[in-house]
């Protein structure tokens, strides 16, 4: 059996790290869905406030969505432009 090289170890750890970073993408999806559901409830209860509800929800959802992008960036960098391999 071949010994594990430093490069292989870094690549394996990076793949695991990328997988863990992708967990960050699930949260905003659940949160956005929950907010949309509550927004629909709110519009059903008070139809005249639909514009205000959608505008406020849009701002909140857009800010929340970027949190998922952070995790995605980390994962993609670890997979496709790994800076750690160059340190060997």
């Amino acid at each position: 059996m071949e010994p594990i090289t430093g490069r292989a170890l870094i690549l394996a750890a990076s793949a695991i790290g990328a997988g863990l970073a992708m967990i960050a993408g699930i949260g905003p999806g659940i949160g956005q869905g929950y907010a949309a559901g509550k927004g629909a409830e709110g519009v059903g209860r008070q139809p005249e406030a639909q514009g205000d509800i959608v505008r406020t929800m849009l701002l909140g959802a857009a800010v929340a969505e970027t949190t998922g992008i952070y995790g995605l960036i980390i994962a993609l960098i670890l997979l496709f432009a790994n800076p750690l391999v160059g340190l060997l």
Binding site: L58, A61, L72
Partner: protein
């Protein structure tokens, strides 16, 4: 784009202005600014398109029943997430686009919203330093 049209146009306009300022700054401070400019433009435009798609999704979602709205918004979010992933992947793979520029362009929408809609009230900052006993 009916209910949130004005808001979408306002945010898009601000993103383009900040994008333009960053492009000018990259022309001044970097030796090879083409990659940065391409990244900023690419990321900024995809960020604006994502924001508009989010607006359309939410406008449709609030007219549905809550349970369907929840599933609809979450599924559309993952669609946008995949698009963002493809954009970042392209910028990482293509040598002529700077990936950092693309990431900054994608996140500009957040900074614009935070600076123009949430922290634009001076009373908020004054209240931080106001003592509660004075009220």
């Amino acid at each position: 784009m009916g209910l949130t049209r004005d808001l979408q146009i306002k945010v898009a306009k601000w993103v383009l202005i900040v994008d333009f300022i960053l492009i000018i700054a990259s022309l001044i401070f970097f030796n090879d600014p083409i990659g940065w400019i391409l990244g900023l433009v690419f990321g900024g435009l995809i960020g604006i398109l994502n924001f508009m798609e989010l607006g359309r999704t939410l406008e449709t979602a609030v007219t549905m029943n809550p349970r369907r709205a929840q599933a609809y918004a979450a599924s559309k979010y993952f669609l946008r997430y995949i698009i963002t992933g493809i954009v970042i992947l392209i910028s990482l793979k293509a040598n002529y686009i700077n990936a950092l520029g693309t990431v900054i362009g994608l996140l500009l929408v957040k900074f614009v919203i935070i600076s123009t809609n949430l922290f634009n009230d001076m009373e908020f900052f004054k209240n931080i330093f106001r003592r509660k006993e004075e009220d």
